[in-house]
């Protein structure tokens, strides 16, 4: 059995932390265990095995900004003299035990009154006593037990979802009630009792009013918008049908000819709304449209004459001095005032090597500071920085290049045919029996109302969306399923997308190092949290080093110093180890003994294993690589299966977006696969922009879909799913048009009666829903 931490399940280091006869990987985990134990919350470990999250070490004043009234007010939902209610996004919620622990927060800290978790949204609504407890203390408590709140995420309002449910409820109520008391009418029982017939007819009219004016209003609005922009979507024939249906029925009721088609009308709206509801079920805990504010910190330290103060990021002004500390994000384009700074731009450029800036150089926003605190002078405000400009520029492009849904494309022809049929039958009937012209034309509009047609698309695509979600690709909405099928070109970003950010090839310059020195190297690297030393640690074998360090010291962002048997060992950058090496470069770590260089370790990024097989499977699509790096990887790319003329290097973020526009201008439908902020423009420009993410709930650039990096090998299968969904969609459309034709034959022969409509409409809708769901789920009932 592997030895894992009792709290978080991570592999145990040696020596492990022992507490209460259990083993933990770090002091943090054991602290959380102790806290839970003293508060009788041991059940936490009963629901799932090793449910805990390794708590991250944070600065104690990390959440100080929450106590500034202006910022605090942004998060607080409700506040009176005694209590405060706040809703926090906690991205690390992942299992049953999380719910247990968070909902028992009042037991851990008596200041917390109550706590309620919303699992799907990964949120917790917490009420705490105002007296003697600050919001920052709550955030610290949550961080301590492993759930660091994400203050960048804004919770969406629930208002729209609620009003949508109300609409469905009202339509369902009207549908059921009207059908119940129309039943006698269907069988002609009421013909001899006109007063009863009229009574039910007026009642039906009354009940259908809210359906007509409230439940169905989205369709009128959408149709009106489409007509105003001189285009036609499916909502136009739907609205036409609704109006014909409602006008005809109202006329019948008030001329006392019977209850009309009110039952079909209410049922129609009910089914349509259910289809819409199904289509809108997306992923609550993912956010696709993050704007730049969720990436940057909420508040920053400003240097004042008397010291420093915390201000909200919006209050930053050009020329002000600010103070950025280790592992904080540079909030705006700045001038460096300190001597030197190490910046990690991995999320902006995809490049994982640290970049060194010197005094007087400009540091662009978005990087993360590694190492000593620095002082900066603001050159431009956050919303004007290089990064956010790029972000905003591409934002509106997508909407302009307008994607037309399949159902909207066919609805144009549908409408033309409909009007033609109505005209021709009108003319024919003017010879046969002119008194029936109106009845026939209105009947045609009623039965042609594309209910089944309108349902086939949300159900087929909605089912495809959930199939894709089960397999690691999370789409923003159902339109993307259709767009995915039309893709002819796939563009890859290199760093972080084709390469695996966590996998490196380590090349040792001196493979014949003495065994003891290998051990010292491993021991030294085990004590550092720097990504490169972690890599060295996991790359070296030997389970236990058995080395005892006499002393140990780490300089953040520079290196590590350790003493063993009287010798001083240094591990770190060239300047830190003070060695003279011919190959001084980034991405190399130096290891020295008493000032003598004994080992150089080169890191080169490794490409993901699945790339060649993906490329062969995508044989029918053009494939490009856009890289911000130089050409050093060209040979590797070609050996993976790319064509040399399709690989482009030195691509700035803007070039990437322009390149995709050029492809689009030559008629290509482009899918962009990227991971960093440097791809934001390209992701926004492409027909489908997929953000690759190692951790689903971490920050991703705004995109149409988020792909879990573990499932990258399924990329070709996603195209197959979308292609199959499109075929199912066509089959369903065929079915619904058949039903419409049957209805039309009744309407043209002036034989449409409420009972025919009442049977035809639900049957057609239910077949289509059944067909689309089974066809998709039978084929993809198990994982791809």
């Amino acid at each position: 059995m592997m030895n894992t931490c009792y709290h978080c399940g991570e592999e145990l280091p040696s020596p492990a932390v022992h507490f209460d006869a259990k083993e933990f990987c770090c002091q943090g985990c054991s602290n959380v265990y102790a806290l839970l134990n003293t508060n009788a919350l041991k059940d936490f470990y009963q629901f799932e095995k090793t449910p805990g999250i390794k708590p991250k070490k944070g600065r104690s004043d990390k959440f100080q900004f929450l106590d500034i009234p202006e910022i605090r007010a942004r998060f607080v939902q409700y506040e009176d003299d005694h209590i405060v209610r706040i809703c926090l996004s906690l991205p690390s919620i992942h299992c049953t035990s999380c719910i247990f622990l968070l909902e028992n927060l009042p037991k851990i800290n008596p200041h917390v009154r109550s706590s309620q978790v919303h699992f799907a949204k990964k949120e917790a609504t917490i009420v705490f006593k105002k007296e003697g407890f600050q919001l920052s203390e709550l955030a610290e408590l949550l961080q301590f037990i492993g759930y660091e709140p994400d203050f960048g995420r804004k919770s969406e309002s629930k208002g729209t979802k609620k009003s949508f449910l109300l609409k469905i409820g009202l339509a369902g109520f009207a549908f059921g009630s009207i059908m119940l008391w129309s039943a006698p009418d269907y069988f002609g029982i009421t013909l001899d009792n006109l007063s009863f017939r009229n009574f039910t007819a007026y009642l039906s009219f009354l009940v259908s009013l809210p359906v007509f004016f409230y439940s169905a209003n989205e369709y009128y609005i959408s149709a009106y918008k489409a007509l105003r922009s001189r285009s036609i979507n499916l909502d136009v024939p739907i609205t036409l049908g609704i109006l014909a249906l409602y006008a005809q029925s109202t006329y019948h009721i008030f001329t006392q000819q019977g209850p009309g088609y009110m039952d079909s009308f209410a049922g129609f709206i009910f089914f349509l709304l259910i289809g819409k509801w199904f289509q809108n079920r997306t992923y609550q805990s993912l956010s696709f449209d993050r704007d730049y504010t969720s990436y940057f910190p909420v508040a920053i330290h400003r240097v004042t004459a008397t010291g420093s103060e915390i201000i909200p990021i919006e209050h930053l002004q050009k020329g002000q001095r600010i103070f950025v500390r280790n592992e904080e994000i540079i909030p705006c384009d700045c001038l460096l005032h300190s001597e030197e700074a190490q910046i990690d731009y991995s999320f902006v450029t995809g490049e994982s090597e640290l970049i060194t800036k010197r005094k007087g150089e400009i540091i662009y926003a978005g990087g993360k500071l590694m190492g000593m605190s620095i002082e900066l002078e603001v050159k431009s405000e956050t919303n004007r920085s290089h990064l956010t400009q790029l972000w905003n520029e591409t934002k509106d492009k997508k909407e302009a290049n307008g994607f037309v849904r399949y159902q909207d494309r066919i609805s144009r022809y549908f409408l033309i045919i409909l009007i033609l049929v109505a005209l021709v039958s009108g003319i024919v009937w003017s010879f046969l029996d002119p008194s029936k012209i109106m009845t026939v034309i209105v009947s045609i509009l009623i039965v042609a109302c594309p209910c089944a047609l309108a349902l086939s698309s949300p159900f087929t695509l909605g089912n495809a969306l959930s199939v894709l979600g089960k397999n690691g690709l999370y789409l923003k909405n159902t339109n993307i399923v259709e767009a995915l099928d039309e893709i002819s070109t796939v563009v890859f970003d290199k760093t972080g997308t084709l390469t695996d950010p966590s996998a490196y090839h380590l090349n040792y310059s001196n493979p014949d190092l003495a065994v003891d020195e290998w051990r010292i190297l491993k021991e030294l690297s085990s004590h550092s949290t720097h990504p490169l030393s972690k890599l060295i640690f996991t790359n070296l074998f030997a389970t236990s080093t058995g080395i005892i360090l006499e002393s140990f010291k780490e300089w953040k962002g520079k290196g590590i110093e350790g003493k063993v048997n009287g010798s001083t060992y240094l591990l770190g950058s060239a300047s830190f180890t003070k060695v003279n090496s011919s190959t001084q470069q980034n991405g190399t770590v130096y290891f020295s003994k008493d000032g003598q260089l004994i080992q150089e370790i080169h890191f080169t990024s490794a490409f993901r294993n699945e790339i060649p097989s993906i490329l062969t499977q995508l044989h029918d699509k053009k494939k490009y690589v856009l890289s911000g790096d130089d050409q050093k990887d060209l040979e590797t790319l070609v050996s993976l299966g790319f064509q040399a003329e399709n690989c482009f290097f030195h691509q700035e973020p803007k070039d990437k977006a322009l390149f995709i526009e050029k492809l689009q201008a030559s008629g290509e439908k482009v899918l962009m696969l990227g991971d960093g902020l440097n791809d934001v423009g390209a992701l926004g420009t492409a027909e489908v922009g997929i953000a690759l993410s190692e951790d689903m709930f971490r920050f991703t650039p705004s995109s149409d879909a988020i792909l879990n990096a573990q499932h990258l090998n399924l990329l070709p299968s996603y195209f197959k799913v979308s292609n199959y969904a499109k075929r199912v969609l066509k089959i369903c459309l065929g079915f619904s048009i058949t039903y419409n034709l049957i209805g039309l034959s009744f309407a043209i022969s002036a034989a449409l009666s409420p009972i025919v409509a009442a049977i035809l409409m639900p049957i057609s809708s239910i077949t289509v829903v059944f067909l689309s769901s089974t066809l998709i789920h039978i084929k993809y009932w198990k994982q791809l």
Binding site: D43, T96, I99, F100, H118, A120, F173, W181, N193, T200
Partner: protein, 52 residues
């Protein structure tokens, strides 16, 4: 025949009651979260102190 009017009114009232109940439940947030409550009910209650 008078009976059927009464039945009609009664059926409408019952349906109306359920509609109102649904509206109340929606407004009250009963449909906000369809997963967490199913887990929450499985947690053990506090053992009551015996000497009370």
């Amino acid at each position: 025949m008078g009976m059927i009017y009464l039945m009609l009114i009664v059926s409408l009232c019952i349906a109306g009651f359920f509609l109102l109940f649904f509206l109340w439940a929606t407004k009250n947030g009963q449909f906000d979260d369809d997963y967490t409550p199913s887990v929450r009910m499985l947690f053990e209650d506090e053992p009551k102190l015996k000497d009370e």
